[in-house]
Symmetry: C2
DNA sequence: CGCAAGGGCGCACGGCGTGCGCTACGGTGA
DNA sequence: TCACCGTAGCGCACGCCGTGCGCCCTTGCG
């Protein structure tokens, strides 16, 4: 990583091609994403990011206005990883469920994003976010919702997914900082939890109950709430009376 | 605010009373909350907070381990503002709806919290969070859910509320930074939005449609999703067949 | 072959969180 | 009454951070 001998002859000097200016926005965003995934949000500084790219921190500012803008770009990159399947056999629930799972997976794969969503929200106009929203909207309209309600329905599902994933991501970040596996961390936390929940009988009962595998338990919880939300939305499409 | 003449005689020197040690954890948390509400997350530094309390930054560390811990305390304080009503006439939906509205209101009243939830989540053991969870759990159990499912149901509703409120809070933070009212900001943004959504017919239609009052529209969206979630949960209590 | 454009960088500024060790105050036992 | 000691408050300093400024060198163009 350290720079080589500074003495370089004219012949060995690396020639920088202007067509590939050694630094590009795409490269910077990719490196930032990699660093964030590997070391978390607080590890991302313009200096360390520059070092990863063999560049000075200030060089980045030729390609990115500031750190906040860089984060917006990285977030949009993550949204680009979310898949929206086509509806098969008119089964829109299956499609929405798959899309929700893909979103949750993307957010958990990049758990640092939970801290960033509170700043950017989804209000900005990144191309991947727009494309994603358009496709999801199409999905709900195909399911039978009129445009205005499709928007509401999409918002409801996404709010649930984001709420779940945000909470999970925060938890996973805490676990990761502890340097242990999720199960180890839980086992280690359990005595304190049992003690702390003593004044609260219902929480205490839950804390005492056996939990099974932590990861699948989280997945089940996510699926449960999503099912309920979809049940409620389905009822809007097929009035029972 | 500036310190007075440094020359003080023995007689005029202010006497510090040990019974009220000039600084207390509660005071610090209260001042931090005030500062966060007034100026946002990035305005909170240990130095400025100290200045607000006529104290040096490092003095705060006698009462608080570090800034992260301080934030946890403030978050718990906010959760203390959430009200959980009793169930009247067996109408648990009304109670849950009121509780959800109270939660949303608290989160929007302190919009900076959206950025912090991604770090702390709800996994920590603050007394107000515990009390709140216990009472909400009781609410769902009274509604008829068996304990394990009551936990899931509560988690689902809270995830939705947090997801909505987080997104709204991020939006409100952006608006606040612009120094304009929400409506002004929307009107100003609309041309850019219309332009950006051109390649996406469905988004474009939504962007072009008249919106009515922004704040009530947000409230309606929140109510819509919550209703759907509660519909889905209700179905679990009263199997149709 | 000279020149303008612009990418990369060294430097510096002001601000951050926080560890360390000193000071002085006030309650306590002799 | 007085010496003592636990502890709140603070000044200083360290190593980070984001980022503005102005210089230099490369490069493609006329």
């Amino acid at each position: 990583m350290a720079a080589e001998e500074p003495v370089v002859s004219v012949w060995t000097r690396p020639r920088r091609r202007r067509e590939q200016p050694a630094l590009s926005r795409a490269q910077i965003v990719a490196a930032a994403l990699e660093l964030l995934d590997a070391e978390g949000l607080e590890a991302l500084s313009m200096r360390t990011l520059g070092a990863r790219l063999d560049a000075a921190a200030t060089s980045l500012y030729r390609h990115v206005a500031n750190k906040d803008e860089l984060l917006e770009l990285v977030v949009d990159e993550v949204y680009g990883q979310i898949e929206v399947p086509e509806i098969r056999d008119g089964d829109w629930r299956r499609a929405v469920t798959a899309c929700a799972a893909s979103t949750r997976a993307a957010l958990l794969r990049h758990a640092w994003i939970a801290s960033v969503l509170g700043q950017t929200g989804l209000a900005y106009l990144g191309p991947n976010v727009m494309r994603l929203n358009e496709r999801m909207l199409a999905l709900f309209e195909t399911a039978g919702f009129r445009p205005a309600e499709a928007d509401r329905a999409l918002g409801a599902v996404m709010a649930y997914v984001i709420g779940t994933a945000t909470t999970e991501a925060a938890w996973l970040t805490t676990v990761a900082r502890s340097g242990r596996t999720e199960q180890e961390w839980i086992d280690r936390l359990r005595p304190a939890l049992r003690e702390a929940t003593k004044p609260y009988p219902r929480l205490h009962a839950l804390a005492t109950a056996e939990g099974g595998d932590a990861e699948t338990s989280r997945g089940d919880g996510f699926a449960y709430g999503l099912e309920r939300m979809l049940d409620g939305l389905t009822a809007r499409l097929t009035p029972t009376e």
